[in-house]
């Protein structure tokens, strides 16, 4: 698929930022607000766009891997911010929570600063650990419902 190829070809900084944005899209408001409060020398943040809520048309593929078709829409909230030091950050995620989108944009911008990058990376790790634990639990629960077939062997006498 072209999307995958595009991602593989990304230079490392872009790939890291992309992975950070993936995690921020799934962050809870508590995680984001907590990390923001923990930053003592937070820079001034100016809104560039939003936060705003709109729609993204979600596409599927015919047969799972064929040509694309439109499956239906999903609500998406997004924001773009600029730090006083100039960095631009984008936040976007499913749902209508504009506050989370604004926070995600701020952390995307902070990720690009030398000063605040470690704090953002710590937030990334926090979100990643939670997601991993949730995914692990769900996978284990599903695995417990796997059917173990056994064959009835006819008695040989």
């Amino acid at each position: 698929m072209d999307a995958t190829q595009k991602h593989e070809a990304l230079p490392d900084p872009a790939a890291e930022r992309r992975e950070g944005m993936r995690l921020l899209a799934r962050a809870t408001l508590a995680e984001l607000a907590g990390a923001w409060e923990a930053i003592t020398d937070s820079p001034d943040v100016a809104p560039v766009r939003g936060p705003e809520t709109g729609l993204v048309m979600v596409r599927g593929r015919i047969g799972g891997g064929g040509d694309a078709f439109n499956l239906g829409e999903a609500t998406v909230s997004r924001a773009t911010v600029r730090l006083a030091s100039g960095e631009i950050g984008h936040g976007q995620m499913l749902g209508t929570d504009k506050e989370r989108a604004r926070f995600a944009a701020i952390f995307d911008a902070l990720f690009q600063t030398e000063r605040h990058r470690p704090a953002v990376e710590a937030l990334h790790r926090l979100i990643a650990a939670r997601i991993e634990a949730e995914d692990r639990r769900k996978a284990e629960e599903t695995a417990a419902t796997r059917v173990d077939f056994f064959t009835m062997v006819r008695g040989d006498d």
């Binding site: 991602h7 872009a14 899209a25 709109g54 596409r59 015919i62 997004r78 976007q92 499913l94």
Partner: protein, 368 residues
């Protein structure tokens, strides 16, 4: 002559006030929360999202509550809401092969990579009412086991032998259609039909799917696999030049495997029908895949002999928001129309009576 009629404002206001009261019900009971609807009536929420064609569990739950549990009303409300929002763009196509699978069963292979994963299913329950739910007894935590290997797609197994047609391809140069942007036209291409089916009424598609099984456009189906789980939604950000994840949505996918077709150019192979639906709904995904296959008559040079094969019939009547709008509009004032009909039938009756009085010949004429 046009006669303007006014009135009813006070009655309408009081009717809506009464609706709000009945919706709330007995005030001595706690009000149901959106979170409770999402958590405990999740499949109702899923159906509303699928047929409203808008993925947002919280808003769908609000619609269910606002509609007092009337699903089509809830779907209508959510469908109407989406028209108030701007469109940011189109996502990258979701990749169901990398789904975080919560359920996957195949009726064609017993032992397959990833196994038969039953997940949270109603299958094999006895469908007996459970009084323990009335008492709200404690519910056990789910069992857990070490996860197994990657859940391979069944169509890939058959594809390895070349015994099944590939994932669907549209003709060269085809531009993907979008029902929300262009009016419906027939014949309709498969991508648009799938979009229409994905938001189609579950009951209507179920009935059509059932009709194909009973012989009205038989397709000899097997469930290659049904899988339910979360997939990542990615949106390309032009500002950055790459696609970013927006999070996960839960979908249900059905790969229906149908009896073979071959031609002078192509050896016999299994054909396919495809179903993909927002949320957890394998009844809908299976119905969709059966109807998708039935509608592919032009690709396989099949005669259209049954309703499920007639795309104009199926697609034009699958949308329950449209259907309910047109059926339910009949209860709105038609006073003037009806007055005209009443005048007409009175005149016909007078002529009929006059003719009858005039003798048998005249009566025969009137009957004609």
């Amino acid at each position: 002559m046009y006669v303007a009629v006014k009135g009813g404002e006070a009655a309408i206001a009081n009717a809506h006030r009464l609706l709000a009261d009945r919706r709330r019900g007995d005030r001595s009971l706690p009000s149901i929360t959106i979170e409770q609807v999402v958590e405990q009536l999740g499949l109702a929420v899923d159906r509303v999202m699928a047929e409203a064609s808008l993925y947002d569990p919280a808003l769908a739950a609000l619609a269910v509550r606002q509609a007092r549990g009337d699903m089509i009303e809830a779907i209508f409300i959510l469908r109407a809401y989406r028209t108030t929002l701007p469109r940011f763009g189109y996502s990258e196509p979701v990749d169901t092969a990398t789904m975080k699978v919560e359920r996957r069963v195949s009726a064609t292979y017993k032992d397959l990579p990833g196994g038969q994963l039953l997940g949270p299913t109603f299958d094999y329950t006895h469908r007996l009412l459970d009084p323990s739910l009335i008492a709200d007894e404690a519910v056990a935590e789910p069992a857990a086991k070490e996860p197994g290997e990657h859940v391979m797609r069944v169509s890939d197994i058959l594809d390895g032998e070349g015994l099944i047609e590939g994932d669907g391809r549209m003709p060269e140069g085809h531009v993907m259609g979008d029902l929300t942007r262009e009016p419906m036209e027939f014949p309709m291409a498969r991508d648009l039909r799938l979009q229409a089916l994905a938001r189609g009424d579950e009951g209507f598609l179920l009935a059509l799917a059932y009709s194909t099984q009973r012989g009205y456009g038989r397709t000899h189906p097997f469930v290659g696999e049904v899988r339910i789980g979360e997939v990542e939604v990615e949106l390309d950000l032009p500002e950055l030049g790459f696609a970013v994840s927006l999070g996960l949505i839960r979908v249900t996918e059905c790969q229906m495997v149908n009896q073979f077709k071959g031609s002078a150019k192509q050896p016999p192979q299994f054909t396919r029908g495809y179903g993909l639906v927002f949320g957890q709904s394998e009844r809908k995904a299976m119905s969709m895949s059966l109807v998708d296959r039935a509608l592919r008559t032009d690709e396989f040079s099949e005669d259209i002999v049954a309703p499920a094969q007639d795309q104009e019939f199926v697609i034009s009547h699958a949308d329950n928001v449209q259907a309910t709008g047109f059926v339910e509009h009949l209860k709105l004032p038609h006073y003037v129309d009806f007055q005209a009909e009443l005048d007409l039938v009175r005149r016909m009756r007078r002529e009929y009576e006059a003719a009858r009085a005039g003798g048998e010949d005249g009566m025969k004429e009137a009957a004609e």
